[in-house]
């Protein structure tokens, strides 16, 4: 069953997506899978409501989880809007360059741990270079319509599979929602005989 596909739906505006990234990408180290990174627009840009109580609780809960996982969290720059869409565009370019993991990890750290503003060229460039990506290629990706179409397709697919939040992993049609379901996915992948020897 080598080469089984796992889709990984991710939003740069979701702190839970940020928490999921190191362990999410590591799945491809531990299992014989093709991990397909699928960047999607933030919930609030998809017309979904996020009540104030949820936003407050999320910040507090993520801080505790980040501490438990040893990840920086607290020096935040909320990327809602251009920051998120620019990261999505560059993430598609990073996939083409084989550096999706590096870019997603760098962007997450920048947004949630270092208050980097990816809506500015200065902020996004810092993230891109930390991920080993050249700025010229990244800048070109920002105005690439084919890339924008791919982001839209990813977002539509999340809706089509019937899910509402991120991060979501999908393996053989089964959905695993949340950074706290990665162990459950690993269990299923092991059960499917996909563990690397």
């Amino acid at each position: 069953m080598a080469g089984a596909q796992v889709d990984y739906f991710y939003s740069f505006r979701s702190p839970y997506s940020y928490l999921s990234a190191p362990r999410g990408f590591a799945l491809a180290d531990d299992f014989e899978i093709d991990l397909h990174f699928r960047g999607v627009l933030p919930m609030m840009m998809r017309g979904e409501s996020v009540p104030v109580a949820k936003r407050l609780h999320t910040m507090r809960d993520v801080k505790r989880e980040a501490d438990r996982l040893g990840m920086p969290f607290g020096r935040i720059h909320d990327p809602l809007g251009d920051g998120a869409t620019r990261c999505l565009a560059v993430s598609e370019y990073a996939i083409e360059q084989g550096r999706a993991r590096e870019f997603v990890l760098a962007a997450g750290l920048g947004i949630w741990g270092e208050a980097t503003d990816p809506a500015t060229d200065e902020g996004l460039r810092r993230i891109c270079e930390a991920a080993g990506l050249g700025w010229d290629g990244c800048k070109a990706a920002l105005s690439n319509e084919a890339i924008a179409d791919r982001v839209e397709a990813n977002t539509n697919e999340l809706v089509e599979i019937g899910h509402w939040g991120v991060p979501v992993f999908v393996f053989e049609g089964e959905q695993f929602w949340g950074q706290d379901r990665i162990d459950d996915l690993a269990f299923v992948l092991s059960d499917a005989g996909l563990a690397r020897r």
Binding site: P51, H57, K63, D78, A115, H163, Q175, W177
Partner: protein, 226 residues
Amino acid sequence: MSKLRERAEREIGPRVIVAASTITAPARAAAAARRATGRSGRLELYFGFDDPASAFAVIDLEQRLQGRKVIFDLLPVVERGIKDDPALERKRIYGITDGRRLGRRIGLTLSRSEPIDPQQTAFLAGWVAAAPRGAALTRFCAAACRRLWFESDGPIEAERYEELWRECFGSAPTADQAAVRANEKQMTRRGPYETPAASIGGRWFFAQDRSAQIADWLDQLGWTVK
């Protein structure tokens, strides 16, 4: 939007919320004061019998609180969730898939393959809301959650749960739906929007996903296992 306002919304506000959440001294002092005056700690759990994640949380927390001088305050609700949530039905269906995973963590197998309509278990919420807090109520809730989600499928027969109630309390249940409504209002006012939601020492937790955090916070507050 002015630059200052934008910075406040995107950076300063979130940073203040996160920083404030790390302040633990007042909660620890309050817990110490309770112990000094011979009182117990208190873990409040808003939960729904129609929700497999709640069933997991009730069973799991009952185990985790053993040996700690902490009152398990079980607060049943029926109506809850994000107002006009378009994903409500999808969440309930997904809850079944997720409930299987949660069950596996405590060695139980989910016996249902379809969501339960909240109104079908509203009678249980009414009974629990009317009863005095204590060991018998905790025992009943944990047993009822097991029976509902891990030992049965199909229609929910109130008679079977009444038998269980008599085993725990030695008398017939009475119902207080007004108390359930009060729990729902209180839950909304205090912030949680989904069940199961646990509150201990001023902190809220997703009770099905944060077992380790809850145990750690109880330890920090001094409500350790004796």
